[in-house]
């Protein structure tokens, strides 16, 4: 080293103290998130203990709503159905999701990379549209159902039974189990499996004795989440179950709210509170399991070479089996929608090309369809921007500050994931009702629906954001603080630029989720504030299947474009962040 003069010397001005203290900002972000997420539950719970709806003057404390629900045999019947439905769905989705994860992560399955990404599609595509597609092809009056019965005298699995519905639900929710298991397998050191093979175990034995036991926490974790999601699912029970007189808790609440001759909101609130209790209990259980999962994380496994278990003769049969899942989960419903949208009626009795028409598509250009598309576009765009901003700030406060209550934020942000959409809808209905002029304005406009959608889907933004945030080493922040940057300057100049890919993906995911969501809105829509989801639901029930299919195709197309763009710009693997949900 050359002996230069003892430079740099000469004291320079110290950094100035920031004008605005970060503390106040942390409080503001925390309060905003907590009030948005937990706020709606206060009036919901309150209304369930009143003897008349909140919009009527007077009223007193009573347990009558709960007595009413618990004394209703229809409620218990629906509860029993729901339990069976959720149990079937959970078993199917978890077992097959885990198998797909093992095949993709640990074997030499042909096309495993492509499968790894495509398997996510059933979860990302618009739920309501996919259900409609299934019904049109495979439902009781579906095209393929009828065709097979006429020509081959084959009886297909009836979808309008509890088991049939749970198969559809399981196809949709399988990716949840897949993602959780995939994340667990990516974390686990594959040399554990290599060691078993060196010890003389065959591939199947390795999977049975090493891989599956390692996955146990992931299996339990995804099972509780899938169970909770199935418990509160509205679309499938409403479109498939209700016509066949099978009631679930969600449809029981929905039908009592919309169709009953004497609407009795306090008792629906009471039912919603009971469902919320169950969902919350499942969330608490899951947090316990997640704690247990830490113990199973093998040390030093990161970046380890993923060794492959050879499938041998089973390579191609298993690849075909996974393809079949994609055919059932994606190709059939999307084809069904596409076909339904361009014919006047889809029936096995007549060949579709004799019934071709563009009228379903031209109908979208006017009236309520046009309004719904416009409304959906606006709230998806604005909602995705707002949610991404709020979640980015909240994630910064939660993981990059010394704010006293920061540790509560992740729980609050993940809570809506375990909360049934219909309960969020009812909650916001009451919340808008009791908050005066601002509430009235939200209630009468599309923004009220947007807020409910944003809160409901906010966990996705956080789940995408968090892993990236966790990978940004804390010493990078500390280095910035030590050279004189304030909390806000550090966030702006260091953390946010490094977070940019996650921010973009979170925006795309929020855009898709808000565009395709429907169930929180069913309690909030008014004439003129319909969004695509609610329009599809009401039009389908009135029998306008062709237009509904065209509308669903719009959702499918937009979803596909957004996914393609974001996976091209950033690795789609980042969507795997959803796994930790």
């Amino acid at each position: 080293m050359t002996t230069v003069a003892p430079e740099p010397a000469g004291a320079i001005r110290r950094p100035r103290r920031p004008i605005v203290r970060a503390g106040g900002f942390h409080w503001a972000v925390w309060a905003f998130v907590v009030v948005s997420v937990l706020g709606p539950f206060v009036p919901l719970i309150y209304s369930s203990f009143r003897d008349r709806p909140l919009y009527e003057a007077g009223g007193a404390f009573t347990l009558e709503p709960y007595r009413h629900v618990l004394g209703d045999s229809a409620f218990w019947h629906a509860a029993l159905n729901t339990l069976q439905y959720a149990a079937f769905t959970t078993v199917l989705a978890v077992v097959f999701g885990a198998i797909v994860a093992i095949l993709v992560m640990r074997t030499d399955l042909p096309g495993r990379r492509a499968f790894g990404a495509l398997v996510l599609l059933p979860l990302l595509l618009p739920a309501l549209g996919i259900i409609v597609g299934w019904i049109e092809i495979w439902g009781p009056g579906g095209y393929l159902t009828g065709w097979l019965r006429e020509h081959l005298h084959v009886k297909t699995l009836p979808l309008d039974t509890i088991f049939g519905m749970s198969v559809v639900e399981a196809v949709r929710l399988l990716p949840v189990a897949y993602l959780t298991c995939r994340a667990a397998l990516a974390r686990a050191d594959s040399s554990l499996e290599d060691a078993a093979r060196s010890a003389g175990a065959g591939p199947l034995r390795v999977v049975r004795s090493i891989t599956v036991p390692m996955l146990r926490p992931a299996l339990l974790n995804s099972a509780t989440l899938i169970f909770t999601l199935a418990l509160a699912s509205l679309g499938i029970p409403l479109l498939l179950g209700t016509p066949n007189n099978i009631q679930m808790i969600s449809t029981y609440l929905y039908n009592n709210w919309t169709n009953a001759s004497s609407p009795d909101p306090p008792f629906v609130s009471a039912g919603a509170v009971l469902l919320l209790l169950v969902a919350t209990a499942m969330l608490v259980l899951r947090n316990r399991l997640l704690g247990a999962e830490e113990r199973f994380v093998s040390v030093g496994g990161r970046g380890a070479r993923q060794a492959l278990l050879p499938l041998g003769l089973w390579r191609w049969p298993l690849a075909i089996a996974v393809s079949l899942y994609l055919i059932f989960g994606v190709v059939i419903p999307v084809l069904g929608l596409a076909l339904t949208s361009i014919v006047s009626v889809l029936t096995p009795l007549l060949p579709p090309w004799e019934l071709l028409t563009w009228s379903n598509w031209t109908a979208l250009k006017e009236g309520e369809f046009r309004t719904a598309i416009e409304n959906s576009a606006i709230i998806s765009l604005v909602g995705a921007v707002l949610t991404t901003i709020v979640v980015t700030l909240a994630t910064l406060v939660a993981h990059r500050s010394r704010f006293r209550l920061r540790r509560t934020l992740p729980f609050v942000m993940l809570y809506p994931r375990a909360t049934p959409g219909i309960i969020i809808g009812i909650g916001f209905f009451w919340a808008y009702l009791v908050t005066g002029a601002a509430g009235d304005w939200l209630r009468g406009s599309i923004w009220g629906i947007m807020v409910a959608f944003c809160v409901r889907n906010l966990p996705f933004a956080y789940i995408v954001m968090y892993p990236t945030m966790a990978r940004i080493g804390e010493e990078l922040d500390r280095a910035a603080r030590s050279v004189g940057a304030s909390w806000w300057r550090t966030s702006r100049s260091i953390v946010l630029p490094l977070l940019r890919p996650a921010i973009f993906i979170s925006f795309s995911i929020m855009f898709i989720e808000i565009l395709n969501d429907y169930d929180p809105a069913v309690f909030l829509v008014k004439p003129g504030t319909d969004v695509m989801g609610t329009t599809m639901l009401s039009q389908f029930q009135q029998g306008f299947v062709g237009q509904v299919a065209a509308l669903a195709m719009v959702q499918v197309a937009v979803t596909a474009v957004v996914l393609a763009v974001s996976s091209r710009l950033f690795k789609i693997g980042a969507l795997g962040g959803r796994s930790d949900a």
Binding site: M1, E7, R13, P15, A479, A480, V483, G484, P497, L498
Partner: protein
């Protein structure tokens, strides 16, 4: 450059006491090292000085500049302390070029563009990275990133420099070079520096003085030679280099030296703590293996503390031989440059190399 005063730091993590009454003073322009095993509280101390941990009690000041004082309720934010820190991971911001990394602290201090450029050029030359200003961190090796991290910590003329295990991610060869280089740079700039490490070689070779820490308590503070040759206690003796610990009972005290009975034989010890032990108390004697001399049997070494020992094992370590000896019931490690033949040897333990430790 100011003196750094750390007084009576106490910090709890949950139930565990991370820092227990940690106090030391770093004189102007000196390099002070916090040495200890992981979890001893050295990094917690450093991060408390930097402002990333808040202790429960104590006082931290640089000259008249009080950073933290629990009694007066002072706790200056990390970004207001104006000190430079180099982290174990270097923490060079990956989305900024080397130049931008160095410009960031200067922009915060609202320097003029010209002055920013001058300072960066000067500092990069100082760390011999002048040609790398436009590179991104991922285009640099570990050693280069470390230089950038150091340059970034120096570019705004901080009042002190903190180094948190900066060499632990370098490979052995590079580490030695970086060590002497950093020491030289620190000396040239005359920057008061606190250095955290778990590596005793690093601590001994670089420091003006060392504080050895264990379980949140400062065990001994002293210059490297003192720490090595006269460890205050068992922990320091064992942590800083290899040591023979010999248990015995004081048989007589004579001014500044004591005679310790080690199972029949007498061992003369010259280095005694200020509170001289009384006769017939049990004590531990520490002596470094390289201080023990080994000679062929019958060579009849002169002076006290000469014993006959049986050779249990010998290993060759390149520049010396390592002996494992049996001295009655005792086992004793010794080093010798030459191979001493025979199953029994003569050993001598110089009294001045022996210390009584608590």
């Amino acid at each position: 450059m100011p003196e750094i005063h750390v007084e009576g730091l106490v910090k709890q993590f949950d139930e565990n006491t991370a820092l227990d009454d940690v106090s030391f003073k770093v004189p102007d322009g000196k390099l002070f090292t916090l040495l200890g095993p992981s979890g001893c509280g050295k990094s917690t101390t450093l991060l408390s000085i930097a402002g990333f941990h808040t202790p429960e009690r104590g006082r931290i000041a640089a000259g008249d500049d009080v950073f933290y004082d629990s009694a007066r309720g002072i706790n200056v934010a990390a970004e207001q302390r104006n000190l430079g820190i180099v982290f174990q991971s270097y923490a060079v911001w990956p989305h900024m070029t080397v130049y931008e990394n160095l410009a960031f602290p200067l922009k915060i201090r609202r320097l003029k563009r010209k002055e920013i450029r001058e300072r960066i050029t000067r500092t990069l030359e100082l760390v011999e990275m002048g040609d790398y200003a436009r590179r991104y961190p991922h285009q640099l090796s570990g050693g280069q990133q470390q230089r950038v991290a150091l340059a970034r910590a120096l570019v705004y003329s901080p009042s002190m420099l903190l180094l948190d295990e900066p060499f632990s991610n370098l490979d052995a060869k590079l580490r030695e070079r970086a060590r002497s280089w950093v020491k030289e740079l620190q000396h040239t700039l005359g920057l008061t520096t606190i250095f955290v490490t778990h590596d005793q070689d690093e601590a001994l070779s670089m420091s003006d003085s060392i504080a050895v820490m264990d379980r949140g308590v400062v065990q001994q503070i002293g210059v490297p030679e003192e720490i090595y040759r006269h460890p205050a206690n068992r922990f320091v003796a064992e942590f800083v280099g290899r040591v023979n610990l010999i248990e015995g009972i004081v048989s007589s005290v004579d001014g500044t030296s004591v005679l310790v009975d080690i199972g029949g034989a007498g061992l003369k010890v010259d280095t005694v703590p200020s509170t001289t032990p009384t006769t017939s108390t049990p004590v531990t004697v520490a002596v470094r293996p390289e201080a023990v001399t080994v000679a062929p049997n019958g060579a009849r070494p002169n002076g006290p503390n000469a014993f006959e020992a049986r050779v249990h094992a010998v290993s060759f370590l390149g520049d010396h031989y390592e002996y494992e000896l049996e001295l009655g019931r005792l086992t004793l490690a010794a080093q010798s440059r030459a191979r001493v033949p025979g199953a029994t040897v003569e050993v001598r333990i110089p009294p001045e190399a022996c210390s009584l430790v608590s």
